[in-house]
């Protein structure tokens, strides 16, 4: 009924115009992505003209994985991917645990200062990434210097500092996703478990956790993607030997335009497509169960 009146309104307004505009907007969103994919198969190295189909950029890319004779840059590309995955996995696990705890505290308890805490939680999402990046750079540098003066142990930026930084900006996303699920959950289920003699710990693992797990997973996937994608915060908190895939690609872009970047970019696009679909499937699961 609602859609019907809506459509009559738009019909008078010009549904065709809207459809045309939508086509234009979606073309704008997809044309660059398509061009990137097409050019990753273009034989020409420098020209935008199509000079024939080739897989050589992909071959070059994968040679870094299998052949010891591959040039150093393609080898270090795979190391950067490995770094990206290590960072994304560990930071996602940390953020999922902390974010879920925060969601449970905010959703299941009433306490003074909860509004303030909610604001604190949202702040890392709101403030510009570059501010977060430089503040973590300054923080780590200062802490490392103090530690060195106190203990003589010299610490430098590297994988751990990037992992901590990524976990920090991911916590809020997990909390938001899990809280939404907790709010939908009937508290009677937990009360019933408690009345039947289960303690809080048992109630959580047997009742609450299985019910919120899809939401945690969905939030974790978002955090995982954010971590894999992140450039700015990583740029400031990384050290020697902790280059991530986006940082590596950035270096390649800065140095020269080689079609190998098109090939990596295409693979990164496919990876995000896979992640989106997984996430949507999970969200469907959440709403179906609901």
């Amino acid at each position: 009924m609602k859609t019907a009146t809506l459509e009559t309104f738009i019909h008078a307004w010009g549904r065709r115009g809207l459809a045309l505009q939508a086509t234009f907007a979606l073309t704008f969103l997809y044309l660059p992505i398509l061009i990137l994919i097409i050019y990753s198969f273009n034989a020409s190295r420098f020209n935008a003209n199509w000079t024939g189909f080739t897989l050589k950029w992909y071959q070059k890319l994968f040679s870094g994985l299998t052949e010891s004779t591959a040039d150093i840059s393609t080898q270090s590309l795979w190391i950067s991917l490995q770094n990206s995955l290590i960072i994304a996995i560990i930071s996602t696990v940390i953020a999922s645990i902390l974010g879920t705890m925060m969601a449970l505290a905010l959703e299941r308890f009433r306490f003074p200062g909860s509004k303030l805490l909610e604001a604190l939680l949202l702040l890392p999402i709101i403030i510009p990434e570059i501010t977060l990046g430089v503040s973590l750079l300054v923080f780590f540098t200062l802490v490392f210097r103090i530690l060195e003066n106190l203990t003589g142990i010299r610490l430098t930026l590297g994988l751990p500092s990037v992992i901590i930084s990524h976990a920090t900006f991911s916590i809020a996303f997990i909390t938001i996703t899990v809280r939404a699920r907790l709010a939908d959950l009937d508290p009677a289920l937990e009360e019933a478990a408690l009345d039947l003699g289960a303690n809080e710990w048992k109630t959580f693992w047997r009742v609450t956790f299985p019910l919120i797990f899809p939401a945690i997973l969905s939030g974790a996937l978002l955090a995982f993607t954010l971590s894999l994608d992140d450039f700015v915060v990583t740029f400031f908190t990384t050290g020697v030997g902790a280059t991530t895939l986006p940082l590596f690609v950035y270096g390649m872009i800065k140095l020269s335009i080689t079609p190998v970047i098109n090939a990596i970019s295409t693979l990164m696009l496919l990876a995000s497509l896979f992640l989106v679909i997984s996430s949507l499937k999970l969200q469907d699961q959440v709403s179906v169960k609901h």
Binding site: F111, P128, T131, S135, D229, Y250, S265, V276
Partner: protein, 294 residues
Amino acid sequence: MAFLLQKPSHSTLETRKTKNLLLLLLPPTIWLLVFFIIPLVIVFIYSFLQRGTYGGVTWEFTWSNYQRLANDLYLNIFWRSLGLAALTTLICLIIGYPLAFFIATASPRWRNLLLFLVIIPFWTNFLVRTYAWIIILRSEGLINTVLQSLNLIQEPLNLLFTPFAVIIGLIYGYLPFMILPLYATIERLNFSLVEAAQDLGANDIRTFLRIILPLTYPGIIAGSILVFIPALGAFITPDILGGAKTVMVGNLIQNQFLQARHWPFGSALSMGLMILVLIPVMIYFRSSNSENSL
């Protein structure tokens, strides 16, 4: 009966609840305090310190970083960033609103497909999406190749490393952030109000301006904030697509921290950027709070 006797008294239940709350609350709160609030406080303090000889800081109070920020050179970069971010937001709104409207009013099947199409770029690596524009805009790029082969131009146009390229890149990067909240509000719109307006004789334009636009205002504001904030602090887009003439605050901050190694001035710039960003957010939360209390 024994079971009843074992039931904890009210007060022990309360203390147990408090204990549980603290167990849940402390780890994430401490994490955010240590790795988020304290770093921001340090940057705030650094912005009042002086630069050390080798790029560090000396612990002497000064206003000079903020005075330097008021210099025309840096103020211009702030103004340019504000202008580019505002223009990006406006164009995203102009492109995004009709699209969000179209998606929200499509049949459920189409709606899901179109939403999916908007979400994919939203999840796609920002750097990769920005890089795609280099292929399109550079002098041997797609636009110039097409125009030259059509004999429309003789010499390649200078498109890359211009403010135009930065604006395109920003719009492209943040358009999904505009569409999604707009879609959410339009989809929830109560269309009996639209009907009522039309029954009362309002024409389409009037209905749109008086009913639909005000009702979707929260989505417009939310989308605008989501686009404006990252656009204002943008670093990758001006770095990759803009030339030396299209430096934005983000690049300036990066430069102060990594090349010039003037951390106190970089800190002052970060503080300036953060304040610029927090103003619209505070206004938004004020207005949405007052709306909730209605």
